[in-house]
């Protein structure tokens, strides 16, 4: 494959290419380093060509839903994200990057999300502190590659005030946590993985989750090459 990848010397020289979509928000440094530690060539990029060439794509997000959506639309990377999802390559949304995959958020009425999941994002219950800024335990709701190799209890780091409004027995829900109510913590459908928590800030547990995603990217990469041979 013809790829021009600006690797720096400390980057992993091999491994699948994971493009972390850089649309001008927040701290993406630790996400990049986390994916590199997990065995990927991970790049922060807004380059459509690189995102299209990558074996897997990550949509991060911090802060407010509306400002993240505005920045994503302004850069045209909303379309690129949807295209990546349609391509069936592994795709992961993290935190607000997960929330943006939904139809809308109660945080700001009238702002549409990407609508990959038809549900909305709602405020956490008023009975608990918002944001949930702490480590919490994941309850597995179904078997998924995201949580492979992890032993219960799975502690991960959350910073969020809203979460998807889905019942915990919805087929797309991979994990929930308890925070004032049963809160959706991870979802997945086909090639799309999404985490409300921050795997890149969840120490060894989080790095395992990133490694599982990199593994999925490697599997896609292999299948991709196999297809190219045919």
């Amino acid at each position: 494959m013809n790829r021009s990848v600006p690797n720096t010397p400390q980057d992993t020289p091999k491994g699948p290419l994971v493009a972390i979509i850089d649309y001008g928000i927040g701290n993406l440094h630790s996400a990049q380093k986390g994916f590199q530690r997990a065995g990927a060539r991970a790049l922060l990029t807004s380059d459509r060509g690189l995102i299209r060439d990558a074996d897997a794509v990550v949509l991060p997000g911090v802060g407010a839903f509306a400002s993240c959506m505005a920045a994503l639309r302004r850069t045209g990377l909303d379309e690129v994200s949807l295209e990546a999802i349609d391509s069936q390559r592994p795709f992961m949304g993290i935190c607000v990057g997960m929330q943006m995959l939904f139809a809308e958020s109660e945080e700001t009425a009238g702002v549409s999300g990407l609508g990959v999941f038809k549900e909305s994002v709602r405020w956490l219950p008023e009975t608990v502190k918002r944001p949930q800024m702490q480590w919490n335990v994941l309850q597995r709701r179904r078997s998924h590659q995201m949580l492979e190799g992890l032993q219960d209890p799975i502690w991960v780091y959350f910073v969020h005030s809203l979460s998807p409004d889905m019942n915990f027995d919805h087929e797309d829900v991979v994990a929930t946590c308890q925070y004032g109510a049963t809160v959706v913590a991870a979802v997945a459908r086909r090639n799309v993985w999404a985490a409300q928590f921050h795997p890149e800030k969840s120490s060894r547990v989080g790095l395992q989750i990133l490694a599982n995603f990199v593994q999925a990217a490697a599997q896609y990469d292999t299948a991709d090459h196999a297809a190219a041979v045919h």
Partner: protein, 261 residues
């Protein structure tokens, strides 16, 4: 479920950890990456680096430190001290810090809280408050600036509420009366603040034994407890602290996580 966080605090000067770090087995106790990795391995939930650098020409080394820590350590960390502007905050957050903690600059110009919160999200905007008991302040506590050297005349409870209103994501509350005394947190101050705001509060100042950490959560209502010397001098590990909290019925993320990988 609420799980209390345990946060070791490290003083840094020119990007190096200074002041009394005495871990066994660390060759160079000044290396922030090595210390951060050690605390991560022990089960620390977050880290706070307090930049005590006096000269501005050394500030860039703190940015480099943030990057070095973010390269190697995958738990959240905050950098505080000397952050005067949105641009200062931006540099540290871009370098990989998860949160910045502001104190004197926020007292001088409270809008800085709103600006950081608006630009980067409330979750990364920690307002640090140094409070001292006072006979003149209505709440009984006055806020000090400049690392506790300067009286501001501002009432602690008034400032806490304003910080929350302006968009602070978290309060780092230090009792100047207790700081360095090893007498335990000022639980009266802590519980006043935790009941006044709906954002998370980190209790700081005075931890001398593990029971103090328990009290900070159970009596003070703190979401997180910060300590320095009991961890730095090897008196207690983070793991011991977490076991102690668990025995007292306080939920924390256990330290002995294999986690695969």
């Amino acid at each position: 479920m609420r799980a209390a966080r345990i946060i070791p605090c490290l003083d840094v000067d020119g990007g190096r950890v200074v002041k009394g770090i005495n871990f066994l087995g660390i060759r160079d106790a000044g290396d922030p990456v090595e210390l951060a990795a050690r605390y991560d391995a022990q089960g620390a939930d977050e880290l706070v680096f307090l930049d005590i650098t006096a000269s501005s020409d050394k500030r860039d080394t703190t940015v480099a430190m943030a990057q070095a820590v973010a390269d190697e350590v995958f738990i959240p960390f905050t950098i505080g001290g000397g952050i005067r502007s949105l641009d200062d905050a931006r540099k540290l957050l871009r370098a990989g810090a998860d949160k910045v903690s502001i104190n004197t600059a926020a007292l001088r110009r409270p809008e800085l809280i709103r600006e950081i919160s608006h630009e980067f999200g409330a979750q990364c905007c920690v307002v640090a408050i140094d409070a001292h008991s006072s006979t003149t302040a209505p709440s009984g506590y006055e806020v000090f600036s400049h690392g506790g050297r300067t009286r501001t005349g501002v009432d602690c409870m008034q400032w806490v509420s304003e910080a929350e209103r302006l968009g602070a994501g978290e309060i780092l509350l230090t009792s100047m009366d207790r700081d360095g005394t090893k007498q335990g947190f000022d639980l009266s101050l802590t519980s006043k603040v935790t009941s006044a705001v709906s954002i998370p509060v980190i209790a700081s100042g005075g931890v001398g034994k593990l029971d103090h950490l328990v009290e900070g959560v159970t009596v003070g209502g703190a979401d997180a407890v910060l300590a320095a010397s009991i961890f730095h001098y090897g008196e207690h590990t983070i793991s011991e602290a977490k076991q102690h909290l668990a025995q007292a019925g306080v939920v924390t993320r256990p330290a002995d996580l294999g986690g695969g990988g």
